[in-house]
């Protein structure tokens, strides 16, 4: 199974949202990282064939996806960023509605809905109207609808938005279990989510992939650029003006700064182990 992105480009007037992006995606979890406006959502919509590209194509197992039409939608699951729902429907009814739209026979849909509601911790809310749901509950229903047809290509645009830490961990485990031999693409601002489950990470900036690799590979790129420096409390803000500071930690009347810098920022700075978040800040420190 392969999803090929071939020089995919999207222009909105003079603005270039996605700029000649290419990639070959096989089974696994792909984390799409980038600041706001990097082009993640535009790329995902084109991968879903709901947004026409200005140029370039997407192929699923060698077939161009817009030409595949319903056959591609049959293997696709998508959670949009601002997922629209019907407030008067219960979670069960909403999922049944989407299942009907996905052409899933009713008995199979009912069974699948029960499984998903249970897996996402929504079994008690199945009969409640969605207008009464919290943001996290709605998001979980959105994830459930994307999984209804057991898709081979699952595209999730910010799936962890609105989820509390426990729900995020639960979702991460669910997706890790689910991925197997499927292609899962998720975008998020929460670097730790990507770090936890992504087999491959794609860093996007100005509509382009600027970096791609596994988490350890990418983290290695940040090694030697992360420093800890202990300074008096009054000087902490001055350091922030000159460097990307990933973290402030107070220790008595002093502050331990975690600084991202190509070179040693000060004599007394000590190198420390890098994380994905450090890598992210290396690239997006100024805009993030």
């Amino acid at each position: 199974m392969e999803l090929s992105i071939d020089r995919l480009t999207k222009h909105y007037g003079s603005k270039i949202a996605v700029d000649c992006v290419s990639a070959e995606l096989t089974a696994g979890v792909y984390g799409l990282l980038g600041a706001n406006g990097a082009g993640k959502t535009t790329l995902m919509r084109m991968l879903c064939a709901i947004l026409e590209s200005t140029s370039g194509e997407v192929f699923f197992n060698g077939e161009e996806v817009t030409g595949m039409g319903a056959a591609y939608r049959d293997v696709l699951g998508y959670l949009p960023q601002d997922f629209g729902y019907y407030p008067n429907y219960t979670a069960g009814e909403f999922l049944a509605y989407i299942a009907a739209l996905k052409g899933i026979p009713r008995p199979i849909a009912q069974r699948r809905i029960r499984q998903l509601l249970s897996a996402l911790g929504l079994q008690d809310a199945a009969g409640k109207r969605m207008r009464t749901f919290s943001g996290g509950m709605k998001q979980r229903v959105g994830i459930a609808q994307a999984l209804l047809n057991d898709p081979q290509v699952l595209i999730l645009d910010e799936p962890t938005a609105g989820l509390d830490p426990k729900e995020r961990v639960h979702l991460r485990n669910l997706l890790a279990d689910y991925a197997g031999d499927r292609i899962v693409i998720l975008s998020t601002h929460i670097v730790s989510d990507v770090e936890a489950i992504a087999d491959q990470v794609l860093l996007m900036r100005n509509g382009r992939f600027i970096l791609r690799g596994t988490v350890p590979e990418l983290v290695r790129q940040a090694e030697g650029k992360v420093w800890e420096l202990t300074v008096p409390e009054g000087q902490a803000r001055e350091w922030e003006d000159h460097f990307t500071v990933a973290n402030f930690r107070h220790e008595g009347d002093r502050v331990v700064l975690r600084i991202i810098s190509e070179g040693r920022p000060a004599e007394q700075a000590v190198p420390c182990r890098a994380t994905m978040e450090d890598l992210y800040l290396c690239y997006f420190g100024q805009e993030a």
């Binding site: 949009p80 008067n88 009814e93 509605y97």
Partner: protein
């Protein structure tokens, strides 16, 4: 089918839909039906300045009116008409006034249409002919009706082939007319049922206006577009749902209307010809046939109107605009008709729910491809065909917009 079932449930889940149906039912069945029969249409007059000043005794009064009408025999003849006039005048002399909904108002309309030369212009109340005409002069009722009809058609310019067609229809009307209490049927056929379509149009516009435009507000396009069935299946389900809603709303109102009619009016007089309501009508129909026609007119018009509303909903992205356009489709023809030539006015009548079910009492015709067609034939068929013709365009337009 599953999608239709769920779409249908989604529609009925909306509070606005339930409120609309409730209001529509309350206005037509409770206000226009039950309260109208019991109180302000058929209740005995108490305060003559307002129908709402009537007494709350419609049920008993209707029974009394029916009994009085039945006492004049089963057929309308010169003799029965003369007896009615004599009784009205005798009671008037004793200071007893007959209620408006009694046989008096029917007799008054017969006299005006068939015996206009008996009007006394110097009388204090010349329009109340039943109080002063000499009953012995009320003869030749059916000959006079024939002459009045021919005069009327001539005065309307309906001569030649058109006049001949209408007179041919009239020849099938059986004489003498079966006779009973007319005012109840007059209310149903001349007021309640013609209003049914107009009121339904408003509520159909409110409920079905957001059928397609509402999806933009829900922001569901990205979801719908990535489903296997996608927007095309959904468009089909939405259209079926809209048509089903129109039929359901009609069924609810029709059931309520018929039930209140049966309770208050019963079935008496179903076989009277509609000419007992309007003497110069030419259709050979009895009251029951006319009622079936008017209900069919409302149902087919409502389904046709639903089609138009759904097309308008697919054309725009705003619910408010969809509603305004739908209301314009309902009332616009009536508003602009007065500024248009007669031919165009009649053409506008063929839009769903724009014409009137009461055309069965009239001699309106359409002249198409050299043929004269009595207007009710087209008023009942063209609106639904128009509405159904809108549906493929609605689906195609919405699907194209969703993709764009």
């Amino acid at each position: 089918m599953e999608l239709f079932r769920l779409e249908h449930r989604k529609l009925w889940r909306k509070a606005s839909v339930r409120v609309c149906v409730l209001l529509c039912f309350a206005y037509l069945v409770v206000f226009g039906g039950v309260l109208s029969y019991q109180w302000f249409e058929f209740g005995s007059a108490d305060d003559v300045t307002s129908a709402f000043g009537n007494n709350f005794d419609g049920y008993a009064m209707i029974r009394a009116y029916q009994a009085r009408a039945d006492s004049y025999g089963a057929y309308l003849t010169d003799e029965s008409l003369q007896r009615m006039v004599r009784d009205i005048q005798a009671d008037n002399a004793r200071g007893i006034r007959w209620e408006n909904k009694d046989v008096r108002s029917t007799v008054n309309s017969y006299l005006w249409q068939l015996y206009p030369e008996l009007e006394q212009t110097d009388n204090a109340y010349p329009i109340l002919m039943e109080y002063y005409v000499d009953s012995s002069e009320l003869t030749g009722l059916y000959q006079r009706r024939q002459a009045a009809l021919e005069d009327f058609l001539r005065s309307q310019g309906q001569t030649g082939g058109e006049g001949a067609m209408l007179l041919d229809m009239n020849d099938k009307v059986q004489e003498p007319f079966r006779y009973g209490w007319v005012c109840g049927w007059q209310h149903v056929l001349g007021s309640y049922l013609p209003d049914l379509g107009v009121v339904m149009a408003v509520f159909l516009a409110i409920v079905l206006g957001p059928t397609f435009s509402g999806e933009w507000r829900s922001n569901t396009a990205p979801l719908l577009l990535t489903t296997q069935g996608g927007w095309r299946h959904l468009a089909r389900a939405k259209i079926l749902c809209g048509l089903a809603f129109a039929a359901e709303l009609f069924a609810l109102l029709a059931a309520g209307g018929v039930a209140s009619q049966l309770v208050y009016l019963g079935t008496a007089g179903w076989d009277m010809p509609i000419q007992t309501v309007k003497m110069l009508a030419v259709a050979p129909m009895n009251m029951l046939q006319a009622e079936i026609y008017e209900y069919a007119f409302a149902l087919l018009g409502a389904v046709g109107f639903a089609g138009v509303v759904m097309l308008l909903s697919a054309l725009v992205k705003s619910n408010v605009l969809a509603l305004l356009l739908s209301l314009a489709a309902a009332w616009g023809p009536a508003v602009v008709a007065q500024y248009l030539p007669y031919g165009l006015q009649k053409a506008l009548d063929l839009l769903p729910l724009a014409g009137s079910a009461a055309d069965i009492f009239r001699t309106n015709t359409f002249h198409i491809f050299g043929e004269y067609i009595w207007s009710p034939y087209l008023l009942i068929t063209v609106p639904i065909l128009t509405g159904l013709a809108c549906l493929p365009f609605a689906a195609a337009r919405w699907c194209r917009r969703q993709r764009a």
